[in-house]
């Protein structure tokens, strides 16, 4: 104890951050509490805690309910330089309590911000509407936040979706989140759609079992006709492909693979004969020892 290998406060803080950013779904405050008990509040100050939680919330698209009852997602695409978050749908700016994951204040956007948001509205709004309808159907407890930006070279729409399933009383929690980006160059009639699905599940009764799953997708999207509808249909297709493959993987793992690791019963279909084997081994060992003498 107290030898030369003792970590500096900065090193401790790096490890603390590492742990907090790897929190399993819905358990970040438990992790913070544990980390605080290990490094102390002089190292992990309240200010550090807040900034780490903010990083985690933004990375995993945590949802916050607005006074209107609508939910918005906290994402890197909506974070403003002053630490507030953008809600392009209600055209408001939201201040958030990152510990309680609650909205503390909403303000209408200022004129400059409003102008940038409205510049991409023609494409953002129909995509947002179609994705909301899609999410209501397949991720009924989830939320959607869609951002749009426009520049001289074209338009970019980013649609984020996320759902959290917290059943900590049953030692179980999960998170599913997706991020979809449509890039359209000015005058082009095909857009590039790229994005990811991520899915984590944590089960911790008598152990710690985690599923970490994800995939990166790409497709071209025609920009003629109902782009919102086409966008949501494409995402639905990606998701179904992803989940169908998951079913296939699980079927193989749960039968052949686990059986190849450790059989349910020996190939003889009878349990190990401890009586026979024990007597034989001990007799053999005694003989060997007698022979050595």
């Amino acid at each position: 104890m107290g030898d030369e290998s003792e970590l500096t406060d900065a090193q401790k803080l790096t490890l603390a951050k590492n742990f907090i950013l790897q929190s399993p779904p819905a358990q970040q405050l438990k992790v913070v509490e544990d980390v605080r008990a290990l490094v102390g509040t002089s190292v992990l100050t309240q200010q550090h805690e807040l900034s780490m939680l903010k990083m985690l919330n933004t990375k995993e698209f945590a949802a916050v309910s607005l006074p209107s009852g609508e939910k918005i997602l906290l994402t890197p695409h909506g974070e403003l330089p002053d630490g507030t978050f953008l809600d392009p749908s209600s055209k408001q700016v939201v201040s958030v309590d990152h510990v309680k994951l609650a909205c503390v204040n909403v303000q209408p956007m200022d004129a400059a911000l409003l102008k940038t948001v409205e510049a991409a509205a023609q494409l953002r709004d129909p995509i947002d509407a179609a994705m909301r309808a899609h999410v209501e159907e397949v991720l009924p407890t989830g939320a959607v936040t869609t951002y749009g930006s426009s520049s001289a070279s074209g338009m970019e729409i980013i649609c984020c979706v996320a759902v959290l399933n917290s059943e900590l009383a049953n030692y179980c929690a999960g998170r599913w989140w997706g991020e979809w980006k449509l890039s359209c160059s000015k005058g082009g009639n095909v857009g590039q759609l790229t994005g990811t699905i991520k899915c984590n599940v944590h089960f911790f009764e008598e152990g710690n079992v985690q599923l970490t799953d994800g995939g990166t997708f790409h497709a071209e999207l025609p920009l003629t006709g109902d782009v919102g509808e086409a966008f949501a249909k494409k995402i639905a297709l990606f998701e179904i492909e992803f989940l169908t493959k998951l079913e296939e993987i699980y079927a193989t793992l749960s039968e052949q693979v686990i059986q190849s690791l450790r059989r349910r019963l020996p190939i003889t279909r009878t349990k190990f004969d401890w009586e026979k084997h024990t007597v034989a081994k001990l007799a053999m060992d005694l003989q060997t020892q007698a022979g050595l003498r």
Binding site: L15, G207, N208, V209, V257, L261, P266, D285
Partner: protein
């Protein structure tokens, strides 16, 4: 709770929540953060087993129980690698039992694991009566053959035997099984990274009193208890890994569509009402 206990509780709680795929790094980081708890952490937190080969070419498994300093003892040759002077050895009567147990569980491994490796280590318990032992199994997936990127099953069983009287003994078994599976998750539309990792560990305990006074009784009793435990844990692992995680995914993503689910529920309700008339 003392300050030290409180920190140990916090460290163990963290281990239950951090990604199991990086359990070794988590343990290292915890030891760096609270060096005064190093022994407790190394004793309590199970890590994936490492296989080694002794001078005679036998494979053996390393853990905290066959370690002395930076050297590990092979149960087959009873020598340390790298060699050390005065390395900790089990007393002669326990070494006899250890030799028999290694042979015995090697046969058990053949039957259930059809490959892999096993090792058994014995030592004298702190209170001096009876014995303590750990039985280890490791099996690695033939990754390419099964279409996986990687995968393993590690079982760590720690047994404590304490004589109760001349005819009976008390056995306490603590079993941890680590199962880790790593596979590609590409589909027609994926481009680049797509992978699925399912990994973690489960721990269970059992305590029994059996008739047992001789070495051969103890080996049989421990063997039966361990077999029973492994069989039950295999079922639990299957349920949790492939059942519980899947149910959670399905709760988040309704493949059939929420409105279909709702319609079905309403239909069922209406039907029940009709039948109840």
């Amino acid at each position: 709770m003392s300050a030290q206990d409180k920190r140990l509780t916090a460290a163990l709680d963290l281990v239950r929540r951090m990604p199991p795929v990086r359990i070794e790094q988590t343990l290292e980081e915890l030891v760096d953060l609270v060096p005064d708890l190093t022994d407790e952490l190394l004793n309590t937190i199970d890590q994936p087993l490492q296989a080694a080969k002794d001078a005679q070419g036998n494979t053996y498994l390393n853990c905290d129980y066959n370690r002395d300093g930076d050297s590990y003892r092979s149960p087959w040759t009873n020598t340390y690698d790298p060699p050390i002077e005065d390395g900790v050895m089990p007393p002669p009567h326990l070494r006899t039992l250890e030799v028999a147990a290694n042979d015995l569980f090697n046969s058990y491994r053949e039957m259930y694991y059809e490959g892999g490796a096993s090792s058994v280590y014995f030592w004298e318990p702190d209170n001096g009566t009876g014995f303590a032992a750990c039985v280890l199994f490791k099996k690695t997936v033939e990754a390419a053959k099964k279409g996986l990127t990687a995968g393993f099953w590690d079982a760590i069983h720690v047994v404590e035997m304490r004589p109760v009287d001349k005819e009976t003994a008390h056995y306490k078994l603590t079993s941890t099984i680590m199962l880790s599976l790593d596979t590609d998750h590409s589909t027609k539309s994926t481009k680049g990274d797509a992978s699925l990792k399912l990994s973690g560990s489960m721990t269970r305990q059992a305590e029994e009193k059996y008739a047992g006074a001789k070495d051969e009784d103890h080996l049989k009793n421990v063997g039966r208890m361990l077999e029973e435990m492994e069989n039950r844990m295999r079922d639990s692992l299957q349920t949790v890994y492939f059942g519980r995680t899947k149910t959670t995914v399905n709760k988040m993503y309704r493949m059939g569509g929420a409105s279909t689910d709702k319609m079905k529920a309403e239909l069922a309700q209406a039907l029940q009402k009709e039948l109840g008339k």
